[in-house]
Structure formats: C-alpha cells, structure tokens
C-alpha cells in the first residue's frame, strides 16, 4: 500500500511490525508507514475482497 503522507510503498505485513511496542498492539485498525510514521486506516476485509476479485479479473 502507499503512504498518504510520504508517498512510499510498503507491504501491510511490514507495517504490522510497527505495531510492536504500541499501547494498543494494532487494535486501532490503523496502518503505520514504516518510513515516516504516518498512520492511515487499514484496508477493511470487504475492500480487500473486492480488490482481489478485480485484480483477478483484470
């Protein structure tokens, strides 16, 4: 996914590592950019499902 602040790309797995040491342990539904620390909403399950379907079709 792409960071909305710095514009860099990273994988959600990579971003999940940023949740270590956080008080809410990723329970906030946010993704933290490993490059700049900006937090943005994690892709919801239904959005991922739709995107995967679209990608498969194309």
């Amino acid at each position: 996914m792409k960071c909305d602040f710095c514009g860099r790309w990273f994988s959600e797995d990579e971003a999940r590592k940023e949740c270590r040491g956080c008080a809410v342990f990723g329970g906030c539904k946010n993704v933290k950019c490993p490059y700049c620390g900006y937090e943005m909403p994690r892709e919801a399950g239904w959005v991922r499902w739709l995107r995967t379907r679209k990608e498969k079709r194309s």
Binding site: V24, Y38, E43, V47
Partner: protein, 660 residues
C-alpha cells in the same frame, strides 16, 4: 576526480556475464521487466531467515544462461524495512556482473539519489528508465546520452509492459561496469572528516566499496555493523564519529548525506529532464509550489480550513446533520418514546435513571454518540480523507516547517499534529517518530494542550458557526497559546532546532473510492470505540448520582465555573470532559442548544475545553510514552493553564466591554 571505488576490479562484460540483479523503488515496473527478461523460468522463494520473497530466473544469452535476480523494492541503500534489508543484503552478497536500477522515467528526479548511491558503491549499474511510453505521452523529454555521460553508466529506456526497449537493454548489459566516470560526491567538511576516520575501519571485500559502506555506517546502519562483524570498539568509534558530525554540523549525518544526494540528483535532473511545456502536469506542479510557499500557501491553507472544516464540518456536519438527528430524530421521537416507555413499564426510579431521563444510557450516552458525535466525526473524516488523498499534507509540512522551527519542532511534526485532529491519543503515540526527546516532549505538550480532537473541533465549530466573533476569539487564543507554549517549551528545553527534509509525492485529484473507504473505515473504528465508552460514561454518571458524588463534583466544579464566568450548569460538561474530550464537547453543545450560554461564555467555554486536561486515554498514553512524572507534570500544567486562560479571556472581554 574519479571515485576511488570505481577503479576497483570491474566485472567483465560478455561472455563472462554470469549474474544480473534488478533493483529499484516499489511500483516502477521492476517485476514486469524481470518477467520480460526471464520469461517463464522463474523460481520464487523466501530469502533465508525472512518471509520476504525473492524471484530468480534465467536469461539465455547466446549459448550461456545468465542468472537474474529480482530484489524487493527499496528506496535507498540505507534500509528501513525488512524488504529493503533483503534487497541490500543481496547487493552485498551477490557480486552481480550487472545491477539494473529500474526507475520510473516520469519521476526521474526522485529516483536518481539511489542511482547515485549504487554507482558510488562501485556497483556495475545500468540505469533503466522504465515506463518511458507513459513519460513520452505526458510530454516528458530525457536526454539519455547526457545522463549516461554525467553518471558514467549505460542508460537504457524501456516500457516493460509492452516490451519496448527490452532487447536493446539486453544487448547493452555487457557495458555494465565499464568506463565509470562519476565524480565522487562531496558531502561537506564535517561528513568528509568523519568518513576519513570511519573508512579504514570497514573490512575489505565487503561487497560494496568502503566509502559507500562508511557512508551507511555514518548514517547509523546498525544492521550493517552486524553484517560486517565490527568489534565493539569499532562500533563505539562509529558512534563517536556520528556524534562529532552532529556536533560540528548541527545536524545528523543521516540527514546531511541524503540531503546532499538529493541536491546532486536535482542538479542532474535539471540538466537532462524536460517536463512538458504546458498542460495539466505543469499546472499541478505550479499549484504544488504555491501550496508550499509562505505567501501563497497560507491563503490556500485558510481556504482549505474555511471550506473543509468551518463550512463542511462545522456548518453542515455539526449544524445541518446534528440538528436533524439530535433535534428531530432523538428529541422528537426517540427520547420521548424511551422516557415514556421506561416510566410506564419500569417502577424503580433508579433503573429509570439508568436507561432514560436526564443521564440515561439511551437518552444521553446513545444520543451523544449517534446524534452529535458521529455526524461531526463523519464529516470531519470525509474532509480529512479528501485532504489526505490529494497529497496536500506533505506540502503542509513544508509550509509550516519554518514556523514550527520557532517552536522547537520541524515540518515532520505535522504528522502527529494532523493525526491529533483525528485522535490526540493516537497522535501522542506517533510523537515517537520525531527525532529527538525534546521534539517529542514539545509535541506531546502541544497535543495535550492546543490540538482539539475531531469531535471536539467539530462540536466547537458547530456551536460557533452562528457566532463568528466568538469563533474568531477562540481561534485567536488557541493558535496564540499553541505558538506561545511551543516557543516557551522550546526555550526551556535545551537543544538545537531540528532539520527537516522530505521528498514530496505528486499532487493528485482525490479518488472518490479511496476517500469513501478511508472515511468508512475511520468511522467504523471510531464509533466502535466511542459507543461503549459513552454508554459506560452514562453508567458512571448514574452511579455518581446514586452515591451523591456526581452532584458534589458538579457543585465543586461549579465554583470554578464561577471564576471563569460560566453558569454552574457548565460544570457538567467539564465533568464529562474528564472522561473523554468529545463527551465533554457534546455536553457543551447540549448547553448551547438550550440557550444557556452567551457569546462571551461560549468563547470562554470553548477555549477552556479546548485547552482542557487530556482525556483519560490520552493521559495513559502520555504516561506510557513520556513516563509518569512527565505525564503528571504536563497534565497538571495543562489543567491549571486551561482554567487560567479561560479566566483571563473572561476578564479581558468584560474589562473591554466586549459582547460577542
């Protein structure tokens, strides 16, 4: 002066070409090019000891097979993510005969710093300007011959998706590593002096040339220290060299080195890259520059705030939508029906109070959450997602960088400050991304004091949208307090003003789908968090009423309300505010809609509540991030200061005879 690394044993071209490695930023078409080169013979496996996938394939060149490896996306030789660490390790260990640096031709300037790093590292680089078809369609012109001469490496143009230029690229692979002439980049006296001390400590035959490795070590690459097996004494020498650079240059090497690379890349790009003469791209670029320039950027910011927050969140969200849900749906239908049903069917007064009437979980907790906070937060999240998706935030960071330096921060602090408008608690955790402890403390104080959360801000804007003069007083005081306290804190805490540097991603039109998804996700998360808390707050208030503690606290706080010129009923809102800021703001909204506040009182209440002590969640995070002593000190200061400023505003307005 030719680079020292460049004279080292260069890998020979055909027929001894044995291994090719592809590197580059994510999303530049690297994998598409890899597939074009290798065809179907591809093996995907995890890099040893990691979950990062690496693809390997073969390219048939005449009668020989050449191994081709596709690395995970990387932005720099200094890794931050595991993918980047793997890509860097491959470069260190693979001893490739050709390193194809694949870049997006449209964004050459942003990608050249890594090209410079790779060449500087003594690698046999071939620069591949991919997506050249898209660049040409946009009217971009690149002088590839001049670029090749300046860099001293072969430069090829490709469109990997269509296959254009791939054959020519393959034909030129043999040129990799020949005739490199890139002059050594000069990093300034402080860094160069440190390099002279650090370079002899780097072991020979470490994959990259010693100067490049020394540059990485100077930037604090701990992983590289491990990989190179440096002794504890050498690690300490490296750390001392880093401290020395920071002492002498006033900025860390981790900032000075990328900045210098960026300048060099910008100079090169200016020589060889021609953007389209006219059209949409140029207009967007111009707008982007205006957004960052103080003269034009501040009016643009004012327009964004006026329409995005004041009109949309304050006017539409907190006005129109709340009026409908609160005034029409709840006050006309839900609350009367619930009150009636409860008093009719439940004989016990204590249970009636818990469910309905003045402070019941439905008539107060649910009403606050659904009818007041949700529409406000929803409209705020829509506005915020549009701003975020357009790429405006990094430009805002550049705009406020100079102003923030006066208060001991820099443009990077825009990240926690902006997130603070969403939720101060989360933003307090994000302060850890700031470079120094000093910056983190300043940012934490300002978040606790002068940054209202989304619900608080929306409620305040909603209440004041009909009272523009009270709003002006509120905005003036809050901005003034933000700057004054930031300035004072920066004077009290010792330290140098930090530097800030970032690459600006392109500006774009917000995508409706992305905005909708972000807004819904944020609303879903926010509502799931606040609803139970609001209901719990109602239960606690109910308990407080049964035990008499609530009334005692309200009458105690009522005295303080008197000091700042507010009616004693306002004590209830402030008591709610202890629990959660947005709950307190909703209480204030209730008071105002019942006509209990004059214009002056509205300004005083809004200012005090904005500066008010952080909610319980924020206090706990402050305690975790900054320690109990600092958290208590911040909370104690904020609490006293908020009421002090409230009293001052009241006195000033009364003394001047101002009636808002």
């Amino acid at each position: 002066m030719p680079g020292r690394c460049h004279s080292s044993a260069a890998p020979q071209a055909d027929p001894s070409l044995r291994k090719i490695v592809l590197v580059g930023n994510p999303n530049v078409g690297k994998s598409a090019l890899f597939n074009r080169i290798t065809g179907t013979y591809v093996v995907v496996s995890n890099y040893p000891g990691t979950t990062v996938e690496v693809s390997r394939g073969r390219l048939r060149l005449g009668s020989t097979d050449v191994e081709v490896e596709d690395t995970p996306g990387m932005y720099s030789l200094l890794p931050i993510t595991e993918e980047e660490r793997v890509a860097r390790d491959i470069l260190l260990e693979s001893h490739a005969d050709a390193v194809l640096h694949v870049v997006d031709a449209k964004n050459l300037k942003r990608m050249l710093p890594m090209t410079l790093q790779l060449i500087e590292a003594g690698l046999p680089v071939v620069l591949v300007l991919n997506m050249i078809d898209e660049a040409e369609r946009l009217g971009v012109r690149i002088d590839t011959d001049r670029l090749a001469r300046s860099l001293g490496v072969p430069v090829a143009t490709t469109a990997a998706l269509t296959g254009r230029g791939v054959k020519e690229l393959i034909a030129r692979l043999g040129e990799a590593g020949r005739g490199r002439t890139l002059p050594e980049i000069y990093y300034g006296p402080e860094v160069e002096a440190a390099l002279a001390r650090v370079e002899p400590l780097v072991p020979a035959r470490a994959g990259l040339c010693p100067r490049a490795l020394a540059l990485l070590l100077l930037q604090g690459d701990e992983r590289l220290e491990e990989t190179l097996g440096l002794s504890a004494a050498d690690v300490e020498r490296m750390a001392e060299a880093r401290r020395e650079v920071e002492r002498r240059a006033g900025a860390p090497a981790s900032l000075l080195i990328p900045e210098r690379l960026h300048d060099e890349a910008a100079r090169l790009a200016d020589e060889v890259f021609r953007a389209p003469e006219a059209g949409r791209v140029t207009w967007v670029e111009r707008l982007s520059k205006w957004m960052m320039h103080p003269v034009t950027g501040l009016p643009i910011l004012a327009v964004v705030l006026y329409y995005g927050l004041y009109k949309f969140v304050g006017g539409f969200g907190a006005g129109t939508v709340v009026d409908f849900l609160e005034g029409h749906v709840f006050e006309t239908y839900v609350n009367p029906w619930v009150n009636d049903a409860v008093t009719r069917w439940i004989p016990w007064r204590w249970l009636q109070d818990l469910i309905a009437l003045d402070y019941g979980v439905i008539t107060l907790g649910l009403r606050y959450a659904v009818a007041i906070i949700l529409p406000i937060v929803g409209t705020f999240f829509i506005a915020f997602s549009i701003i975020e998706d357009s790429g405006y935030l990094p430009r805002l960071a550049m705009l406020v960088d100079r102003l923030f330096k006066a208060i001991g921060l820099n443009g990077r602090a825009v990240i926690p400050m902006t997130l603070g408008f969403g939720c101060d608690t989360m933003a307090t955790m994000v302060t850890r991304t700031l470079e120094t402890t000093r910056e983190r403390i300043i940012a934490t104080v300002l978040l606790a004091l002068a940054i209202p959360c989304s619900a608080q801000l929306g409620v305040i804007l909603g209440m004041m949208s009909a009272e523009p003069r009270a709003m002006a007083v509120w905005a003036g005081f809050v901005i003034g307090v933000f700057l004054l306290i930031g300035w004072l804190t920066a004077r009290i805490l010792p330290g140098e003003p930090p530097m800030f540097y970032m690459e600006i991603p392109p500006l774009r039109l917000p995508r409706p789908g992305a905005v909708a998804v972000k807004t819904l996700t944020r609303m879903q998360w926010y509502f799931a968090e606040i609803l139970p808390l609001f209901l719990l707050a109602s239960v606690l208030i109910w308990l407080g009423k049964i035990t008499g503690l609530f009334d005692a606290a309200v009458s105690g706080l009522g005295v303080v309300m008197g000091w700042i010129g507010l009616p004693k009923e306002a004590a209830v809102a402030f008591l709610f505010g202890f629990f959660r800021r947005d709950y307190g703001a909703a209480g204030l909204y209730d008071l105002q809609s019942r006509g209990l506040l004059t214009g002056n009182q509205l300004a005083v209440a809004a200012i005090t509540l904005t500066l008010f002590v952080p909610c319980i969640a924020q206090f706990l995070v402050m305690q975790k991030e900054r320690g109990t002593k600092t958290a208590l000190a911040i909370a104690g200061f904020v609490f006293t200061f908020a009421f002090g400023v409230g009293a001052l505003v009241n006195v000033v307005l009364t003394a001047l005879g101002v009636k808002l």
